[in-house]
């Protein structure tokens, strides 16, 4: 009798362990997928920003023709962002584009007729919202990556995370000091 009980107990314990490992593994996979998803979402929002720009420039040009220097800067930054390859290059190009756009929108403050134009207001809302979305997409990516990194560092997942190939995800840091600056309004 005792032998039967012991073997049943061993089988039960083994089954519990197997299900626990499956549960932990699936949890890690789900978190990893969320990280990948969040990364892709950043690209979606960056592309939306690029798509907005031609329309924006056309509207602004009608009222602020002598800001051509700024228009060129934005156009060049946009081409660079769209042709960039590799993560490092893309991040740098998108940061440049963000800076150029900020510079343009700050200058626009000096043109009251432009600010009264309905079309421009609609575009400004779109641009503001897209910048917010880029920010939120990065925030969500960092949150997902932190969630995932924590999950693979906790016990007992940490024991077999390496075996199954779960490696820590990199967080999105602000590398460009210029992006941290608050734009000053010049009149």
């Amino acid at each position: 009798m005792p032998a039967v009980i012991i073997s049943v107990a061993v089988v039960v314990v083994l089954l519990v362990l197997i299900f626990a490992v499956i549960g932990i593994y699936n949890g890690l996979v789900r978190r990893r997928k969320e990280v990948d998803n969040a990364w892709a979402q950043i690209d979606v929002q960056l592309k939306r920003r690029c798509d907005l720009i031609p329309n924006l420039l056309e509207t602004v040009k009608g009222y602020a023709a002598h800001e051509s220097g700024l228009f060129e800067k934005v156009t060049r930054a946009r081409s660079a962002a769209m042709s960039a390859r590799g993560t490092g290059e893309k991040i740098a190009a998108e940061t440049d584009l963000g800076g150029a756009l900020k510079g343009l929108m700050v200058q626009v403050e000096a043109y009251p007729e432009l600010k009264a134009n309905q079309n421009f207001l609609a575009l400004q809302e779109e641009l503001t919202s897209t910048e917010n979305k880029i920010g939120f997409a990065r925030q969500h990516y960092n949150d997902s990556a932190t969630n995932y990194n924590t999950a693979i560092a906790l016990f007992p997942a940490v024991i077999f995370a390496g075996i199954f190939g779960f490696r820590a995800a990199e967080l999105w840091q602000i590398t460009d000091a210029a992006e941290r600056e608050v734009p000053k309004i010049k009149f």
């Binding site: 979402q41 919202s129 917010n132 979305k133 969500h140 949150d143």
Partner: protein, 311 residues
């Protein structure tokens, strides 16, 4: 309470409290079942068996009603008070704000509705993030700026992400289950044969006490269940506030919005069933929330204070 808390601390605390309330509800099922089982299901000399049987019945009831509540919701079709679904072109700013928060929260974009109501308010519905909707009143759109609107939307999407609509249906089902359990048990006492042991039984006296306690409990049970249900509702409101900060990283937007909403005295139509779904109570007298055990929303003062502590 520590001076500096992060929204993660708040969220963790809220999840613990929710779990505790669920355990409390389950324990209530067991206790009620046990008392009523011993009081009404068995003759006085079988008290232990009666209590045990009753507790088991209570547990089974709890699990059954719980499963029904958690999985049974076929998308509660709310009477939307004349709400119309909008596309992006109908109100680009509102649509953008909802989209921004959905990205920050990592949930799919919910349907967006506008209700024609002068009172500022908002609610969310949908048992899972894949099939969710948010609604705001025209009064809300008129009275809040973009940051405050974003705070309110973030609170609502917090409810969606945290499965709160499912939670409240679960609690409602369990509360209903408690009422049913007590009614069934009491009726059962009329059907059991009144075999009385000829021996003068200490069991008989204990059973009498049990019967008394059982009747009182059965009368109070709906009220007690409602108290647990409301406590859970208030807990999830705090959780939604903390989730709003998690998404927007801006406690001030929501705090300012809550202040404006609490001070508003515009009357608003509502039904008892949908009252708990709004961000502030539609009842004019309860806009500020309340401290008592039966209110669905916690006091706004306290909600704003907790948000301020997150700065």
């Amino acid at each position: 309470m520590p001076e500096r808390q992060t929204f993660r601390d708040l969220i963790a605390a809220n999840k613990r409290n929710s779990a505790l309330l669920l355990v409390l509800m389950f324990a209530f099922f067991l206790f009620l079942g046990g008392v009523l089982g011993g009081a009404f299901l068995v003759p006085p000399d079988m008290l232990y068996e009666g209590v045990f049987m009753g507790a088991v019945m209570g547990a089974v009831c709890a699990v059954l009603f719980g499963l029904l509540g958690w999985y049974g919701g076929t998308g509660v079709l709310m009477a939307f008070h004349g709400a119309r679904k909008i596309e992006k072109r109908d109100n680009p700013q509102l649509f953008n704000v909802v989209e921004e928060v959905a990205i920050a929260a990592g949930v799919p974009m919910p349907n967006v509705y506008i209700m024609d109501e002068a009172a500022p308010n908002a609610f969310a519905t949908g048992t899972s993030p894949d099939s969710a909707s948010v609604a705001v009143t025209t009064g809300l759109l008129a009275k809040l700026n973009r940051d405050e609107l974003q705070g309110v939307i973030a609170h609502e999407i917090g409810h969606i992400r945290n499965y709160d609509i499912r939670y409240s249906m679960l609690m409602a089902m369990l509360a209903g289950g408690i009422v049913m359990l007590s009614e069934v048990m009491i009726r059962a006492s009329f059907f059991r044969s009144n075999r009385r042991s000829s021996r003068s039984s200490g069991g008989g006296q204990v059973q009498l006490v049990l019967i008394l306690v059982g009747v009182v409990l059965a009368i109070l049970a709906p009220m007690l269940a409602a108290m647990i249900q409301m406590a859970m509702s208030r807990q999830r409101e705090y959780l939604a506030d903390a989730s709003a900060v998690e998404f927007t990283r801006n406690p001030d937007g929501l705090a300012a919005a809550l202040g404006k909403l609490a001070g508003d005295r515009t009357p608003m139509e509502y039904s008892k069933a949908t009252e708990s779904m709004f961000i502030v109570s539609p009842k004019v007298g309860l806009r500020g929330g309340a401290d008592d055990l039966f209110s669905t929303h916690p006091p706004i003062r306290e909600r704003i204070r907790r948000l301020a502590a997150l700065r």
